[in-house]
């Protein structure tokens, strides 16, 4: 780069920053956002909602196939589980103060303004004017407070333990006071990570009770719940008074269809418009069908872990053995076999959609190498120069073919094991127990976790000694993590988080494989025709294409 070009770029950057700052100030004044909290505030990165008023009447029935049975419990944000699947229903029936949208990972939704005190002890929100629930009752700060106080789902204890009291300033303004600095509040309160920010109507919930709410919920989201056959189907109808825009599709029908071939047949016969989880054996058929379109929908990264590696008699105790495992895997082949070449070989085990994740494309972390000769050479320096037998290779269900292929690759360097095929829930239960879930210390686990909440959330689950699902427990990482948790400095936390990621990959505690496309197949009734459908997949961290109100389909015949 020449000196002149460098100066030009610097000037351009300063000009751009000035413009952004001016625009931010103008936007704040335009919205008439008077401050709620006194004292210094944290600069929040929450994007403005895109309000679209000039939309026509909703039309057509949009039929979606989920790849497992439907749980009516997903309709109740108060009992929000960790799984991202539940948010499909949050985005249909309910609405959150802030939530991920195409505009940004945190985007204003029911709230039009938020503040977080610099000491992280207070957070405040101002709701949009005129918000309502589906039954026409106003949505106010009393509902926000009631939802917080009655929330029992993921992270509930943390929210309860941190809270000192909730102050309702008026119908639209609310302030949360915390006993101690609550640094993660805005991240966790975001609709991506927990259910506490998805507002439940106090008057209705108290009237119908917990079961009644799950059987027939109401919310403030773009679609009204109509009916359900528990486990099989849920029907929703457009709510034309939704504040952001009139939903495009008149009716949304979600079906739980476990069988891949049945989902494909449903798309081909026109009984379905969108099917999830079309990777693997059905993908070539989806790609070959001229009437169908597909979206790669990258989620997270396949990786290997070694439960019990830190016990001295484990073969995986030796870093060089873990390195040999990594070198033996032919990732390019796996990408072709499993994803028809759509996946991307990746050098970090955490999804790059996390803003705090190191990029595994060679930028922050190198692309993993496939080198059999080097693998053998590395292995020759260990206690196992001719390889060894390990007990089980446990693949994420139902990716057994992928597991078989990896076993074949490992066999090529003399590392031999057997495949353990578990049922999906059994695999999840074992992973939930972390190291304790896998007896012995000669097991390799193949996992993927598209977890929201940033890279730190994934590290906190698998790579910290105190976590119930911990697989990696290393003093070096523990020290950095303790500092991370104690730090009130966001930049320092980010630095520590990235240092941990580097150790996990460079020491081969986690062996990344490839960035997985969780392919969705789309039928011909979905508009627009052609590649335009990709715009439905702009929301970050969304294994499913939220928000739903933008999906357009042809009118029913």
């Amino acid at each position: 780069m020449t000196r002149r070009t460098g100066i030009k770029e610097l000037l351009a950057l300063i000009a751009a920053l000035a413009l952004v700052a001016a625009a931010g100030e103008a936007a704040a004044q335009k919205g008439g956002q008077t401050p709620i909290l006194s004292g210094p505030l944290v600069k929040l990165d929450i994007k403005e909602a895109q309000i679209e008023t000039a939309k026509g009447k909703p039309k057509g029935t949009f039929r979606i196939a989920q790849h497992f049975a439907l749980d009516p419990g997903w309709l109740d944000p108060l009992e929000h589980i960790f799984a991202l699947t539940m948010q499909t229903y949050d985005y249909l029936v309910h609405d959150a103060l802030i939530k991920p949208m195409p505009q940004g990972e945190a985007t204003y939704s029911l709230a039009e303004h938020a503040e977080l005190a610099a000491d992280f002890r207070r957070a405040a929100f101002r709701l949009r004017p005129g918000l309502k629930f589906h039954d026409g009752q106003p949505l106010s700060t009393a509902d926000v407070k009631w939802t917080y106080e009655n929330y029992k789902g993921a992270h509930a204890k943390l929210f309860r333990d941190k809270l000192e009291h909730i102050q309702i300033v008026d119908d639209r303004t609310i302030v949360f006071h915390f006993k101690e600095p609550f640094l993660e509040f805005m991240d966790l309160y975001n609709g991506a990570v927990s259910g506490i920010g998805w507002i439940v109507p106090k008057h209705y919930y108290e009237k119908v009770g917990r079961d009644g709410f799950k059987a027939k919920p109401i919310g403030a989201g773009p679609y009204k719940f109509v009916s359900q056959q528990a486990g099989v189907q849920m029907d929703f109808e457009a709510w034309e008074e939704y504040w952001r825009r009139t939903p495009a599709a008149k009716t949304i029908v979600v079906k739980g269809i476990r069988d891949n071939a049945a989902r494909l047949a449903g798309l081909q016969t026109g009984e379905l418009d969108l099917a999830f989880g079309m990777t693997g054996k059905v993908l070539p058929q989806v790609m070959a069908d001229k009437n169908l379109r597909w979206v790669p929908n990258f989620t997270s990264v396949w990786h290997l872990a070694f439960p019990g590696y830190n016990e001295p008699d484990s073969p995986f105790h030796d870093k060089r053995v873990r390195q040999a495992v990594s070198l033996a895997i032919n990732r390019e082949f796996l990408v072709r076999q499993e994803t028809q070449g759509v996946g991307k070989v990746w050098g970090n085990w955490i999804s790059p959609e996390n803003r705090d994740a190191l990029k595994g494309d060679g930028k922050d972390l190198p692309l993993p190498e496939h080198n059999i000769a080097k693998a053998k050479q590395v292995l020759a320096q260990t206690k196992f120069p001719n390889g060894f037998e390990f007990e089980w290779f446990v693949p994420f269900v139902p990716y057994f073919d992928m597991g078989e292929r990896i076993l074949t690759d490992l066999r090529a360097v003399g590392i031999r094991g057997k495949l353990q095929s578990l049922e999906g829930p059994a695999f999840r239960a074992k992973m939930g127990q972390g190291r304790k879930g896998f007896p012995g210390n000669r097991t390799i686990v193949q996992n993927i976790d598209p977890r929201p909440g940033g890279a730190k959330a994934t590290i906190g689950v698998y790579a910290v000694c105190g976590s119930p699902a911990s697989i990696v427990c290393e003093p070096q990482i523990e020290e950095l993590w303790t500092k991370h948790e104690a730090s009130k400095n966001l930049d320092e936390r980010d630095r520590l988080n990235k240092a941990i990621q580097k150790i996990l990959v460079e020491e081969y505690y986690m062996v990344p494989i490839y960035w997985n496309p969780f392919v969705h197949a789309i039928g011909p009734r979905v508009l627009p025709e052609g590649k335009g459908i990709e715009r439905y997949y702009d929301t970050l961290h969304a294994p499913y294409p939220w928000p739903w109100e933008v999906w357009e389909v042809r009118a029913d015949r």
Partner: protein
């Protein structure tokens, strides 16, 4: 007779009690259901809260007495996985299973009985060989394979029949106006799953009809009827058929219960919302109340059928009731 009926009723109740007790114990051997709901990395307090909500923090004997107490009140408990009362979910699904089961039952009878008879009447001829071939195909081609072939041909290629679900008609227990339309609408949705399910059972039905018919045709009383010069058509229709159908109908009754309660694979392939899928989901997700509820209801049907058969046997044959 009254004493006999009461005794049979008592045995039925004991059988049901044993069934629910065994199921109660066995589902608890499958592992911890909280781990299923909690997801990986869930904090301990959250898991404890779920455990408490589900009553799994109580001692097992207490869970058991609560379970039996609730059963006596007609309450099967709350589904862990589907978060609603098991009874509501089960009875919402039961009419769908009955519809599929009855349709498949009729198909299995319509295919199995006439071909079985034909095979027996034309024994060791081309007809018999064809019948044996059909029986072999029925027994060796699993329902899921037949189902997928049907989907590809009639659903995807020809576009004649829908491939998913049961259609829009619903059976609402509290609304009698829905009862009749439920049975007579959405037949295109029913055609393929009922055939795929009935096909498998038709093979067994054919074999049983054939062997029953051959036994009867070789019996002394049929020989006597023939010696009397009764036309062959009458021999078969009036004398042989009725007697040869007794084992067929007993077998068919049990088949019907199987078709209603455990048509899991067919239900999964055609996305048919029946009770078989409930049981499968319940087992996969360690949903104890769901498994207990579905098994209890299936057991109840079998016990009731056996009770009715026992009573009828006792009624028609006094030797049976006197011997007990």
């Amino acid at each position: 007779m009254r004493k006999y009926v009461l005794l049979r009723g008592f045995y039925s109740l004991v059988t049901l009690w044993l069934l629910v007790t065994i199921i109660f114990a066995m589902v608890r051997l499958t592992g911890d259901p909280v781990a299923m709901k909690g997801e990986i990395g869930a904090d301990a307090t959250y898991l404890e809260r779920i455990k408490h909500d589900w009553g799994l923090d109580q001692p097992v004997y207490w869970q058991y007495t609560g379970f039996i107490g609730n059963l006596l009140k007609g309450d099967f408990g709350h589904s862990f996985e589907k978060s609603l009362p098991v009874r509501d979910i089960y009875f919402e699904r039961l009419p769908n299973s009955l519809k599929l089961g009855f349709a498949a039952f009729v198909i299995s009878l319509a295919l199995g009985v006439p071909f079985g008879m034909l095979s027996a009447l034309k024994v060791n001829t081309w007809w018999d060989n064809a019948g044996k071939m059909i029986a072999l195909l029925g027994l060796s081609m699993p329902g899921f394979f037949v189902g997928l072939v049907l989907i590809i041909i009639f659903g995807v290629q020809l576009g004649w029949l829908p491939v998913l679900g049961k259609g829009s008609s619903a059976f609402v227990w509290s609304n009698p106006a829905t009862w009749a339309p439920f049975w007579f609408r959405d037949w295109p949705h029913l055609a393929m799953p009922a055939f795929a399910l009935g096909w498998y059972f038709s093979g067994a039905m054919l074999r049983i009809t054939r062997s029953g018919m051959l036994d009867v045709l070789g019996s002394d009383y049929i020989k006597l009827v023939r010696l009397k010069g009764v036309p062959e058509r009458m021999v078969v229709a009036k004398h042989a058929l009725k007697n040869s159908l007794i084992p067929v109908l007993t077998f068919a009754g049990l088949n019907l219960l199987i078709m209603v309660n455990v048509a899991v694979v067919i239900e999964v392939i055609f996305n048919w919302p029946g009770v078989g899928q409930l049981l499968y989901d319940g087992l996969s997700n360690r949903d104890f109340p769901m498994v207990q509820g579905v098994v209890l209801m299936s057991g109840l049907m079998i016990v009731m059928l056996n009770f009715v058969i026992d009573v009828l046997y006792g009624y028609v044959d006094p030797r049976i009731r006197l011997s007990r």
